[in-house]
């Protein structure tokens, strides 16, 4: 899914956290938004992912605004996925039930779990598996409806290096299969895996690198 952002500006009170950002992201790419704390990367990700309305500016998905796509719940369910820093798996549900929570097509769950290497953990609860396995289940939950793009906020923030690399490799793999990933991270290692790297500083994009 192609994402276009036009002149995005956002204020928290009097503080300008995003300053006139314009960008265009082609579909099926692994995009990394990097920068120091307070650079505006999370705000940009939140606005791009429909979770936050900008003070001014507009976001287009395949040249249409969210309002033009119709109901926002339907849009989120069908077109985008989310992965957060914490897995936010529901503790009283098994990994499979967590993935099935928003699934439109239950038959997609098993192949996806297999692709992510967690097929043997389907009946386990989140407190019975490792941190890496939890995050893989959270990624499966985001991918289950085959969205056009997955937004991830610091998805490796709670993982060790080995698991962080595993997550990046998964993103890269699914991106080559056509799902776009937009990931906000302060981990510089992500640059080795991403197709597009957006560097931010003081609410502005200072550099965009494409591989």
């Amino acid at each position: 899914m192609k994402i276009t952002a036009n002149h995005l500006t956002h204020y928290y009170g009097d503080e300008c956290v995003l300053n006139d950002v314009t960008l265009s992201l082609e579909s099926g790419k692994f995009v990394a938004i990097i920068g120091e704390s307070g650079s505006g990367k999370t705000t940009l990700l939140s606005i791009l992912s429909t979770l936050l309305n900008p003070t001014s500016g507009e976001v287009f998905f395949d040249d249409k605004t969210v309002a033009q796509w119709g109901n926002i719940d339907e849009f989120r369910r069908k077109k985008i996925g989310f992965v957060f820093q914490f897995h936010y798996l529901i503790s009283y549900l098994t990994l499979r039930e967590n993935i099935a929570l928003g699934a439109m097509e239950p038959s997609a769950i098993e192949p996806l779990m297999e692709a992510l290497g967690i097929e043997k953990l389907s009946r386990r609860y989140s407190d019975e598996v490792s941190g890496g396995q939890r995050q893989r289940a959270a990624i499966a939950r985001a991918l289950v409806n085959a969205p056009g793009v997955v937004f991830a906020d610091e998805p490796t923030g709670n993982l060790d290096t080995k698991n962080a690399i595993m997550v990046y490799e998964l993103f890269k793999r699914f991106a080559t299969e056509g799902t776009g990933f937009v990931v906000a991270s302060h981990d510089k290692k992500i640059a080795e895996y991403a197709d597009i790297i957006i560097e931010m500083e003081d609410g502005k994009i200072v550099k965009i690198s494409r591989k």
Binding site: L51, F86, I90, Y92, G102
Partner: protein, 359 residues
């Protein structure tokens, strides 16, 4: 449903509190409705026994205060269409160790409505006792009613608690005790179709008396209205207490599960779907609470019925209609109580997950 059960199990402490709050409220509604309904039903049944028409003193608020001339019962008995007219005195007095007991003074022609299990019908200076009070007083040979001693000539069994826990004596003896001629006449008819004509004829007989069909008397009887209104008010309070209990507990549950609902919103689950999930959870608790409350209420009523202190006067009835009504009320309580916290849950912004994640 499985997800709802898992969520309830996960939050078992708060689930238990919601369950207890609902069980107490539903039991209160059951008990107050059953007991008040039982009182009304017992008194109505008593009046309806061989009574198509009831005659009282005009404008009197309670049959206990009514005083009418018993000789008019004989006049009424001669009216066309009247099968039988009997006079009764309704009173209450201490009997032996019991502080208050229902006393019935009845004309001779009414004795056959009491089925004796032992002994004979009373003559002057004698009484027959309901089986409940007979047991309660340990099978006495005589009893003292308002400082006057009466021999016990027999025992009767009645399904009406007020009668089974009461004392029946002749009209003359009761008249002396309560200083009145008669409280009411109960008139049975050959043909119910004649009731309006007979009522009109009795009312024309004397300006101080008032005749009504028993059904219309029961509908307009002030005491029943007071009992029913009180029961409705207490029932409504129990309903509101139940709702408040659910609202406060569910609000805490929603607050604790904020990230869960945030994730659901980010996955594109609609507000109605989230509200539905929470309502199903509470409905499951409501069904369980309803079943337990029904059991508890039946148990409490059974115990009350056998407590000597109540002399069988408190005799609750849980009819199918009451069960159905309370079932609907229980579901309504669950839905109304969950709605506000569920609305809040359905509006949780998934952005909170990012803020909490804090990049």
């Amino acid at each position: 449903m499985i997800i709802a059960l898992k969520a309830l199990r996960k939050n078992r402490f708060k689930t238990a509190l919601i369950f207890m709050s609902m069980t107490v409220s539903i039991s209160m509604i059951f008990l107050i409705s059953a007991i008040s309904g039982g009182v009304v039903s017992m008194y109505s049944s008593m009046l309806k026994t061989d009574g198509d028409i009831i005659v009282t003193q005009k404008g009197i608020a309670d049959t206990f205060f009514s005083d009418i001339n018993r000789s008019m019962s004989d006049v009424v008995a001669t009216f066309t269409g009247v099968k039988e007219s009997s006079a009764l005195i309704l009173g209450a007095s201490p009997v032996d160790k019991l502080p208050i007991v229902a006393i019935y003074g009845v004309s001779d022609n009414r004795y056959d409505s009491y089925t004796l299990s032992s002994g004979v019908y009373p003559r002057s200076g004698e009484v027959i006792l309901g089986s409940k009070i007979y047991e309660s007083l340990k099978s006495p040979k005589s009893i003292v009613v308002s400082k006057k001693t009466f021999a016990v000539s027999g025992v009767f069994k009645s399904r009406i608690g007020f009668e089974d826990g009461g004392v029946v004596m002749g009209l003359d003896d009761a008249g002396e005790l309560f200083h009145k001629s008669a409280s009411i006449f109960l008139i049975s008819l050959d043909d119910l179709g004649q009731s309006s004509a007979v009522v009109a004829k009795i009312n024309a007989l004397d300006g101080d008396i008032e005749a009504k069909t028993t059904d219309s008397f029961i509908d307009s009887y002030n005491q029943f209205k007071i009992i029913k209104t009180s029961s409705d008010v207490i029932g409504a309070m129990a309903f509101l207490m139940g709702i408040l209990g659910i609202v406060s507990m569910m609000s805490m549950v929603v607050n604790e599960r904020k990230s869960e609902f945030g994730i659901m919103r980010s996955l594109g689950l609609s507000s109605w779907s989230i509200i539905g999930k929470l309502v199903v959870e509470t409905l499951v608790v409501a069904l369980l609470a309803f079943a337990v409350a029904l059991g508890v209420s039946l148990g409490v009523l059974e115990i009350i019925e056998h407590v000597d202190k109540f002399q069988g006067y408190i005799n609750g009835e849980i009819s199918f209609a009451l069960v159905l009504n309370v079932f609907i009320v229980s579901l309504l309580m669950a839905v109304v109580g969950t709605l506000l916290p569920a609305l809040y849950a359905s509006r949780i912004d998934p952005m909170t997950l990012i803020v909490r994640g804090g990049a």
